[in-house]
Amino acid sequence: MSYDILLLLIVLVPVLLSTLLPVIAKFSVALRNSFALLLMLIPMFFLCSILPEVLSGNIVKFVFQFPLGINFILQADIFATFTAIASVLVSTIILIYSFEYIKHYENQNEYYFIVVLFLGSMMGIIFSANLIFIYIFWEMTALASWRLIGFFREKEYIRRANKAFLLTAIGALFMLTGFLIIAEASGSFDLDIIANAGITGGLVDLAIVFILIGIFTKSATFPLHSWLADAGIAPSPVTALLHAAVLVKIGVYVYGRLFSFVIIPSDSLRTVILIVIAVSAFVSGGIAFVEKDIKRVIAFSTISQIAFIFLGFVSGGKVAFAGAMLFILIHGIAKAGLFLCAGIIEHKVHTKDLNKMGGLLKYMPFTAIAFACCALSVMGIPPFAGFFSKFLVIIGSVMDGNVFTGFAFIICAGFTVLYLVRLFTKIFLGEEKGEFVSLSKEKLLSPMVLSVIFLAVLSLGFGLFFGDIFAIANLAANQMISI
């Protein structure tokens, strides 16, 4: 099969075949789960198949012409393929975790259908090289996240799901407006043509601001972040999927794709963006230090860490770009691990309130170790992978002349240590609460525990073999610059 068809299938297989999941469930639940897993593994297999071609420097492209210049173009370069593999990898682990987590709840058919659809939409955004199709897939993810956040049908939960949908959808409309201005200025929605047009000026900056509103709502940047913490009411695999692995990374990915090297913001606008993300990192880091809900702490941590990824892409240099790209993968893994650990804890102690926890290390040693490893990675403590990505992002920004921003983000890194150490202490150390006496010790051989351990191992493994993934990121950065 030719590479372009494989690329098309990476997007179409999960998007189209996900609709079969509720039907298959009529025959067998186990078959439905297996098929859902298969729908994750197929794109992964195809991604691995096109990877050698992409790494050799070639760009795989699928083009289908539509009227009015709305061409369906899928384009796989190293940056896109790398991000896609990161997303599918984390999503697959989350799906395996879900087999045990979700089995007690209703609406499972909807859950699996939406999760796979969500992944397909994500693939669509990553590989689309046409602004209109980016928008279409973007809105598909908004719809999917709306259903996933509203998985539990309580009134308050539905309100929060609506809030998430409305905020991101309104943001997306701003983004669409920005796309239209860009298309007007460059004469096309196709990224290749826009890149070659080399558009600049006040109108383009206005378009960038509009697009940024959409990006900031999706990637939960202060003050457009509030839906993300509220979405913590969703099941843990959903929060892991939305907050860690896929949804919030869409915004930063699109920023990296559009504004790092294709459409360059003016210096003054770049300064404003740097200020916005630094404020976002500070505010969310501060909130995470005093929040009492375990999932809200991790959610605010995500908002804070997203700012680091933005920093990498906004800085404009090669090193920072490579660092930000690796940050997407490494943070996705570690943060998914934290959310999934939170799910295990919630299942065990039936609360999300940190003040009602303590001393759980004794009952949940494996989860505690996995949690610690993932937290160390997010903190940026070597030899965990998070250290390298954080280091590259900050040194990249310093290399690009943003010394004070780099220093501000060093302080934010300090915040990360503070709130994650506090979180770990509150959950696992300290005095045991009386009601936990009856808890049984967790078993290692369960899909949920094994999933988080696997993510913890990845967090360490990517650190120990950092040179290899950095080589890929470096290639991607070189390829992007050559555009």
Partner: protein, 600 residues
């Protein structure tokens, strides 16, 4: 030459991991493996000593990295290996009843490996990796201690990580300004843009490792909660070695700084403040281990002052003092461990026996190490302290006076503890020998004898350091040196007279020093926990976080209340305006037409 990498870094890490995961039925095997690893490390550090070896490897992090084993690093690795060996022997006996012993061994090997890594690497990123990764074994080694030691471990983790982030930023800047990640290739003028900031950040990170203020407050806490081998190996050896190593690299290799420049004066002042405040607080401590830990912070101040003078002589003095400090302070901590095992605690109130009679060998060790600590002539630290005085007075006599006051405080503190531990009346009337086991005794007496032997034969360490730093030429004439020695002796005599005189009058041997310190309200400083920079820092962070929390609530209120209410209000208003009455609709049409005319 990957053999160095294997011996000093990879094998200790792998053995550490193995020890951690081996089941408890192999406990004897764990002890044997632990001792073999530190012994081999010690053997090879002697075997390779003095050689210059450059090698690169692709094993670590799959990056192409250079390592450099040369005079300074081989010296540091040797000192570290010897202390690790002695600590290992001591800990086998000291912690034998502790259920977390084997966890301690595992993490001690990790700490050994990471420290060797820092000393060997020629790459800034790898230096950072090992430097920061050291936090993990430090955290674990404290957490295995007693009485909620994890709280101290967390404090340590947070303080270290803040300091390490300073270092990280400094390293980033130096790499960007210097244009290379290779340590041996970086040599930048301090006047270059960004270089000063880089210097400050790296200096803070390096001095924080030695426990300089304001990054010191975890050390006294850890001295009480963590096991004694931790205090010997990490606080006394690892932290000082790393700090002095990096400080020497900063002033000798990384930056070009003028002697007597402003930055040198500020850095020396930083050291002086650390030594004065720490030595003052040491006076008030009621726990022997806590006193030692404050004294340890104070001694870091001496070394910082010496190195910050930027002279070769200062670096020479700092390196000399570093080994002296490691030897006598290790011995004093071993003594504290012996006392703890015999009496159950090192708090003054819980010492029931006259330890001079019950623990004679421990007493002798204390006298030898204590004399070195006080700077008594012919003991190890005497020579190094005199050199530090000379390097200080070459910059300003004010620095010298501060150092002399610091020495007086140290001497008073150690003499006071000598009286309390070994010369006071026993609370228990039954006297029975409680001397510790051979495994604990050997490291104690070896370090104690070293305090005397290296004092008498100080040419041995002198020649070793000459081979590393180069021949020191001395800063002043021999007359100045003689005057400084006379003053040092007078300071000791003053401390002794103060001690003997006041001991006759009361149980406290602190005498006029205590009165003077109380006059300056230092006692309040000691009692007031809010002075702890860590507490101040956490309080500030909490305040900031609470403000952010309120801001977030306001943002949420906007989305959750203001927006829906506004939308509902507009919706209700529009609904009211469309009530089915034809005349109202006609009015809207007319208004609309007028509006269009106005616009266009």
């Amino acid at each position: 030459m990957n053999i160095l990498l294997n011996i000093f870094i990879i094998i200790p890490v792998l053995l550490g991991i193995l020890l951690y995961f081996l089941p408890t039925k192999y406990n004897i095997t764990k002890i044997v493996l632990f001792l073999i690893t530190v012994s081999l490390n010690c053997f090879f550090s002697i075997y390779f000593y003095g050689k210059e070896i450059l090698f690169n490897t692709h094993v670590l992090f799959r990056l192409d990295l250079y390592f450099r084993y040369y005079d300074l690093s081989s010296f540091m690795i040797l000192v570290l290996a010897i202390i690790a060996f002695l600590t290992a022997i001591y800990s086998v006996a000291f912690m034998k009843k502790d259920k977390n012993t084997y966890t301690f061994y595992a993490f001690m090997l990790l700490a050994l490996s990471f420290t060797n890594g820092i000393l060997l690497t020629d790459n800034f990123i790898v230096l950072l990796i090992f430097w920061e990764a050291l936090m993990i074994p430090m955290f674990a080694m404290i957490a295995v201690g007693k009485n909620q030691a994890f709280l101290t471990a967390i404090k340590t983790l947070i303080i270290s990580s803040v300091a390490d982030l300073c270092l990280m930023f400094g390293v980033m800047l130096i790499c960007v300004v210097g244009g290379s990640f290779v340590i041996s290739q970086v040599n930048i003028d301090i006047s270059q843009p960004g270089a000063l900031f880089a210097f400050i950040m790296i200096f803070l990170g390096a001095t924080a490792k030695a426990g300089a203020m304001p990054f010191h407050s975890w050390i006294p806490d850890a001295s009480v909660k963590a096991p004694i081998p931790f205090m010997v190996f990490i606080v006394t050896a690892v932290e000082k070695i790393l700090s002095i190593y990096l400080l020497i690299r900063i002033v000798k290799d990384f930056f070009v700084i003028d002697i007597g420049s402003d930055i040198s004066i500020y850095a020396m002042s930083f050291g002086v403040v650390t030594l004065l405040v720490a030595n003052m607080l040491a006076i008030y401590q009621k726990d022997f281990k806590k006193m030692l830990s404050y004294a340890s912070i104070g001694q870091a101040g001496y070394m910082i002052v010496a190195i910050s003078s930027i002279t070769v002589f200062g670096m020479f003095a700092a390196l000399f003092h570093m080994i002296a400090h490691i030897v006598y302070k290790s011995c004093l901590f071993f003594v504290a461990g012996n006392i703890e095992q015999a009496e159950g605690s090192t708090e003054i109130s819980s010492i029931k026996n006259n330890l001079r009679q019950t623990m004679p060998y421990t007493f002798i060790s204390f006298i030898l190490a204590g004399s070195a600590f006080a700077g008594v002539p012919f003991f190890f630290a005497f020579f190094s302290k005199e050199m530090i005085y000379e390097s200080a007075i070459s910059v300003s006599w004010i620095f010298y006076i501060c150092l002399a006051v610091g020495s007086l405080l140290s001497a008073v503190a150690i003499m006071n503890w000598a009286v309390k531990l070994f010369f006071s009346k026993p609370k228990d009337k039954i006297i029975q020998e409680k001397e510790v086991s051979t495994f604990m005794f050997i490291p104690t007496i070896i370090t104690a004898l070293a305090c005397l032997m290296f004092g008498i034969f100080h040419k041995v360490p002198y020649n070793l350091i000459t081979g590393i730093i180069g021949q020191e030429t001395g800063e002043h004439s021999s007359i100045v040196a003689v005057i400084l020695i006379v003053v040092s002796v007078l300071v000791l005599v003053l401390a002794l007279v103060n001690n003997l005189y006041t001991c006759k009058k009361s149980q406290s041997g602190l005498g006029f020093v205590l009165v003077a310190l109380n006059y300056f309200k230092v006692d309040k400083l000691n009692e007031n926990k809010s002075f702890d920079p860590y507490e101040i820092f956490i309080k500030l962070i909490r305040k900031f976080s609470n403000i952010m929390f309120v801001i977030d609530k306001a943002v949420n209120y906007f989305y959750d209340v203001i927006v829906p209410v506004s939308v509902n209000f507009v919706s209700a208003s529009v609904k009211k305006a469309h009530n089915g009455n034809l005349s109202i609709y006609l009015l809207w049409v007319v208004l609309g037409i007028i509006f269009i005319f106005i616009i266009f």
